[in-house]
Symmetry: C2
Subunit: 338 residues, 2 copies
């Protein structure tokens, strides 16, 4: 009987919980709203209640190894504290893992949401055949995750993978992080909407202007994407900026780490057809390491290794699977070190 | 009796060879000219001869574990071929390690020179207390080396660490690598001299103009540095550009990898006093991960971990020590896997 673990995706809107066994089979999944406005205690009570329900439904399904939680925010791995999470006000410096572990009596591990998404894709998704990989998650912001030699690369205190804050235009748009021209300002859903507003304000985007009037508050990156697909020039230019910005960052990481695979995930990744050409063009221009691994049609034998840049496969489940994977890796490590 | 190994620094001008024991003690060192113009065979004959001499002098000093060679160029770790080395014309696609191993009958390992410099500083220099580190080597170009969890991070096929080709100004100065605005174009000795010529041509640098006339062909980055130290404004501006460019790249790597220590080495690193202030300013502005690890004077307890950015310690010997370390790590790995 295989063991299983629980993966939690603690978003600002939805709280998603899944039980996954060691072979990667989804045993059960549940989604409840995150009642952020009711405060931290209420959210934790809901989460713990839902986990207990799931576990009792799965009675007899094997041993529960532990709980992994993906959180959009910065986690200090030394202290286990959530340092900062814009979508979870009132959670700063709160020992999430410790508190839930106390309530459930099982190992609880907390990770940044982009890191667990990367781990999920590495375990069961587009990077499952690779030991090392990088994933950029394009959502409200731009998250990053690195898996090096089969482990999430956390860095000195768990803050590694902040790839959304690599500069693509050092004197560009100011970012909340204090810097300027971070890729998050050009490749997130928020950035797409901002660039659309800028194009409308500049009088250069009649179709976007019309769409904004039509959709009002529901005007979104997806609306801009659909217009770009229909051939609207202003919308296409916006996604070319998304692509070239991603290309600058991916080229930098290829030059630095020479990884075999880069994935682009998150909601905006669905716009791949309209941003990927500009992305690849930029990567080729900026990374001779990438170019060196491109297939050479004149080579006597096909090359064994090349750098792959592709869409993530698991959608929003990547984070759930990756979170569930955390306690399994911990258990495996404990066995290995015995 | 400790074992020892041979480290070789195969530069375009000098061929330096050292015998180093497992404790890091330098047993003997020799420097011969690299007779590049006489061709590859002559250089290899000289190198092998010098290594044999060294080994025979050290007769009785312990077991020779192997030879590590640092080469300024791109090495494909899969094939062991030197892919490209601007300073060693005629060596492209040559199996350096294989050939020398055949001649000497001992394991031979070849690495990029910036990688072995990083490994040297990690073993015996400024990063010796850390498991992971990053080093930028500022010379004719800008080299990079990453040591992650005690090992050189080579990436998929040995091309990792090309940090000199991270863009700091995407539309900036064209680079030989095909990209634009690489940090190598702003922080290498070559770049300092180019920026000095630009400042002179713009009529903004009377003291630099005078120095160029005085030194003629010997006008160098060092001359510009000495003028900057004396307070010459145009020269100071050049080193501020060196510093801010380094800052952008270091901030990017901190955000991506959250490493405990970054070292700046190579000849231009001697200009630390004139470029470091701009470098730190830029890192603080661009990396909230760096800022988060800065000591907080209001914290109840002193923080255990912070990101250190410092000068390398071993000078040009870093590469020799790092190269000598390669066979030791290989031998240790062989023992561990038994």
């Amino acid at each position: 009987m295989p063991s299983y673990s629980i993966g939690v995706d603690l978003g600002g809107t939805n709280l998603r919980i899944a039980a996954v066994d060691e072979r990667g089979t989804l045993l059960e999944k549940t989604t409840i709203g995150t009642q952020v406005s009711l405060g931290r205690e209420a959210v934790i009570r809901d989460m713990v209640g839902a986990i207990r329900n799931l576990v009792s439904n799965l009675h007899g399904a094997g041993e529960l190894l532990g709980i992994g939680i993906g959180i959009p925010g910065i986690i200090d791995k030394d202290t286990g504290l959530l340092r900062e999470s814009p979508n979870l006000p009132g959670w700063s410096d709160f020992p999430v893992a410790e508190e839930i572990q106390r309530l459930l009596g099982k190992p609880v591990m907390v990770e940044n949401d982009a890191n667990v998404a990367a781990l999920g894709e590495k375990w069961l998704g587009a990077a499952r055949e690779f030991k090392s990989m990088c994933m950029l998650t394009l959502g409200t912001g731009v998250g990053g995750g690195l898996v090096l030699d089969n482990k999430i690369w956390n860095g000195m205190n768990g803050m590694a993978g902040e790839l959304g804050h690599l500069a693509v235009d050092p004197d560009g748009v100011p970012c909340n992080c204090g810097s300027h021209g971070c890729v998050e300002q050009y490749a997130s859903a928020t950035a797409v909407v901002r660039m659309a507003h800028e194009a409308i304000a500049a009088g250069k985007a009649p179709q976007l202007k019309h769409a904004l009037k039509e959709h009002g508050e529901k005007f979104s990156a997806k609306v801009v994407y659909l217009l770009a697909q229909e051939g609207d020039e202003a919308s296409r230019v916006i996604f070319e900026k998304v692509g070239s910005s991603l290309g600058i960052v991916i080229a930098a990481i290829i030059n630095a780490l020479n990884l075999p695979i880069f994935l682009v995930g998150g909601g905006v990744a669905a716009a791949w057809p309209v941003f990927a050409p500009a992305m690849f063009k930029e990567v080729k221009r900026r990374s001779f390491v990438y170019v060196a691994t491109m297939p050479d049609p004149d080579a006597p034998q096909p090359q064994k290794k090349r750098t792959i840049i592709a869409q993530a496969l698991l959608g929003s489940d990547a984070g759930l699977y990756g979170a569930a994977r955390l306690p399994m890796l911990l258990a495996a490590e404990a066995v290995a070190s015995k």
